[in-house]
């Protein structure tokens, strides 16, 4: 298999693994990532994912012992963001990782590895956001008057979510009405909660 084909094949398994992970099928996801390592034993993303999903990285092919060029020897800014993000992600600091990954994707939008890690970290952080926001059936309440709100530096997405809060809609309803994906909706909700704008 040509080097380029190998890369495509590895990326395909990487993606499939992420999709399965997103569906909660962890063991099937690990199998996909193991296939990535069979093709490309140096693929650090697959290795990280297996670890994150509770898999055993020792049971998969180890990286070649021949000296490899240091991955970040000639890094772009995007790559350095990615590297830092990985460190944050590994230590469970997903919000910090997400911020860096978003910056990295702004500079290098086609980087598959960044995309894959971004999706995975999003999945993990979503669970945290949902825990922080509360049960989906709960009804958020606005704590600030309009004139007080204007002092905050909110995005239009957060503004839209605020406009949905009418004392009747539940968190689940807001997810349905927001026109955003579940992650973005919860991210904004939690941000508003932390700012003391809603409870």
């Amino acid at each position: 298999m040509a080097q380029e084909d190998k890369k495509i094949e590895a990326n395909k398994f990487l993606e499939e693994g992420l999709n399965l992970y997103g569906l909660g099928k962890f063991s099937e996801a690990i199998e996909k990532w193991k296939k990535v390592l069979e093709i490309d034993p140096d693929n650090s993303a697959a290795r990280d994912y297996i670890e994150s999903a509770g898999g055993d990285v020792n049971s998969v092919p180890q990286p070649a012992e021949t000296p490899q060029p240091l991955p970040f020897a000639d890094t772009s800014i995007a790559e350095s963001f990615l590297r830092e993000a990985k460190e944050f992600a590994q230590s469970g600091k997903y919000e910090a990782a997400l911020e860096l990954l978003e910056k990295s994707l702004e500079l290098d939008p086609d980087n598959m590895e960044t995309h894959s890690l971004y999706e995975m970290v999003k999945g993990k952080q979503l669970k945290n956001y949902i825990n922080e926001a509360g049960q989906p059936g709960r009804i958020p309440v606005l704590l600030k008057r309009t004139e007080e709100l204007l002092k905050f530096n909110l995005t239009k997405e957060a503004g839209f979510i605020l406009s949905l809060i009418d004392g009747q809609v539940t968190l689940d309803d807001i997810v349905s009405l927001s026109g955003m994906d579940k992650f973005s909706t919860y991210r904004n909700l939690v941000k508003l909660k932390r700012l003391g704008v809603i409870s």
Partner: protein
């Protein structure tokens, strides 16, 4: 036996009412609202929404939000109304298996009857919660111009929603009932001006012996409160662009907020002279958030929308002319539909007719209240029962030269039987074809064909000699039987015509089952 409720199944909003202890009461929905948007949606996550929630995500989820289904119910796929809907609707409309209409929503095809049933189910649920008993029957209102197929389709929507519809009544008639005009001692002519969320209807009724006859009905199925909202949205977009150089029309989150704010501001200005439209964080960029704060006066609203009001008055004028009536001939004027709350509308109608329109009942609830009164009357003594069942359109047959001869005129109370003698058009003609039509146009082809049959075995004779009696019989359930009898030989041929909504019994049964499954989803 449970209570029979009345439902105004509207183009943009629906409303349910019931008569309790002799008084009509509007049934609020779960959120406490007295009307429910006639909107159905499926979200990206597969969640089904009906009513307010569905409406609140209409702009952010346009392909899978179905609204104004009333414009399509009982229509053929090749009708001009469906063609127009295809041009204007954000959802996909496709050809159904019976040349009827199907709507694609989240990859699944739905008939208009099913989609209307979802709204009816919401109304039924609200009624059951309110009354704390099962509701299995409802009177449903339809526009006066609905033909038998559209009426049958509305009945089928009820069936899918597990609701029997013992009676369908015309919306203007229901409004007149809500105002108690049926109790008037003398015969009167009533103008019902109905400007709802999506449509405008003007109907001229004549009350005689407890029966409301529709003398004329006209309108515009694409003119309503939403057009007023659209004018406000355009104004706000322009104001914001002038100040910030940002085009909110390209931002669906902003548009959804503008839509809701415009509707609210319009309602506020029905009672206030001025309001402020305040949409914080409507936009944001690297410089930070941008807020839309626009003072909005009733005068400004009137300036933006006066031509829409003028359009309705023009239709009223034409309608009166068509039935050869002057404004002085009209005894009562009734305002129906939420948009008539706008003072400019009430003023324009009052000025045109030269008399104050009837007020006192919420204009967006009058039709449902009338339906509830009709529903309650179904259980009263015969003497007190409202005589409201009339043929909505004339029935007749096609005659030589492509003409149409009505045998039963529209607004005839049913049950009814009427006959007419016809003859042959050519010498030695031994058979005649009876084409049963419904409509008001002199040209046969412009009316709806309900059925046809051939009477064979006529004795050979010169044209005009044989006498063939054609009889129409409509029973209390609206079933039409047509027969043709050669009076010389006694030979007879007949057919029974039932209105078709476009769905077979089997399809309705399947949809009813599916709707029940969906109900479980809705209650989550």
């Amino acid at each position: 036996m449970g209570k029979v409720i009345g439902i105004d199944l509207g183009t943009t909003y629906s409303c349910a009412a019931v008569v309790e202890d002799g008084r009509p009461i509007v049934i609020p929905n779960k959120g406490g609202y007295r009307t429910t948007p006639s909107v159905f949606a499926v979200t990206d996550e597969g969640r089904r929404l009906v009513g307010h929630l569905a409406k609140r995500q209409a702009i952010t989820n346009p392909q899978n939000t179905i609204y104004a289904i009333k414009r399509l119910i009982g229509r053929r796929h090749d009708s001009p109304e469906v063609k127009r809907a295809k041009e204007t609707c954000s959802y996909e409309i496709v050809n159904g298996p019976h040349d009827d209409v199907r709507i694609v929503c989240a990859g699944k095809q739905y008939s208009p009857q099913e989609l209307s049933a979802f709204v009816l189910m919401e109304m039924k649920r609200a009624a059951e919660e309110y009354l704390e008993e099962k509701v299995s029957e409802t009177v449903v209102t339809v526009p006066a111009y609905f033909n038998d197929n559209q009426r049958q389709a509305t009945k089928d929507a009820g069936k899918i929603a597990d609701l029997e519809v013992p009676r369908i009544i015309n919306e203007p008639t229901a409004s007149a009932l809500a105002y108690g005009l049926n109790r008037k001692k003398k015969d009167e002519k009533i103008a019902v001006y109905d400007l709802g969320g999506g449509t405008f209807d003007i109907s001229i009724l004549e009350l005689g012996a407890g029966v409301f006859e529709v003398l004329a009905t006209s309108g515009d199925t694409y003119l309503g409160g939403e057009d007023f909202d659209a004018r406000i949205i355009d104004y706000l977009v322009q104001e914001f662009y002038r100040e910030h150089r940002v085009d909110l029309k390209t931002d669906r989150l902003a548009l959804q907020r503008l839509k809701e704010a415009s509707e609210k501001a319009k309602c506020d200005l029905s009672s206030l002279k001025e309001t402020t439209i305040n949409l914080p964080f409507i936009s944001s960029d690297s410089h930070g958030p941008k807020h839309l704060i626009v003072p909005f006066a009733r005068k400004k609203l009137e300036m933006l929308t006066s031509d829409l009001v003028d359009r309705t008055i023009e239709v009223v004028k034409q309608t009166l002319e068509e039935c050869e009536l002057a404004t002085a001939d009209i005894d009562e004027v009734i305002l129906v539909g939420g948009q008539t709350r706008m003072p400019l509308v009430a003023e324009a109608v009052g000025n045109f007719f030269g008399k104050l329109p009837n007020k006192g009942i919420n204009p967006d609830e009058a039709v449902a209240i009338g339906a509830a009164i009709q529903a309650a009357s179904l259980f009263q003594d015969k003497a007190e029962m409202l005589l409201l069942d009339v043929t909505p359109l004339s029935l007749g047959i096609a005659t030589y030269g492509g003409y149409y001869t009505p045998i039963i005129e529209r607004n005839t109370t049913i049950p009814v039987r009427k006959s007419h003698i016809f003859t042959t058009a050519t010498d030695n003609q031994t058979a005649i074809k009876i084409r049963v039509l419904q409509g008001e146009n002199q040209k046969a082809e412009e009316n709806t064909l309900l059925g046809e049959f051939i009477l064979h075995g006529l004795r050979k004779a010169k044209a005009g000699v044989p006498e063939i009696e054609v009889s129409f019989d409509i029973n209390a359930d609206g079933i039409i039987s047509v027969s043709a009898k050669d009076l010389e030989t006694g030979k007879e041929q007949a057919i029974t015509v039932t209105a078709s909504s476009g769905l077979t019994e089997e399809e309705i049964r399947k949809m009813t089952e599916e709707a029940k499954i969906m109900e479980v989803v809705l209650k989550e």
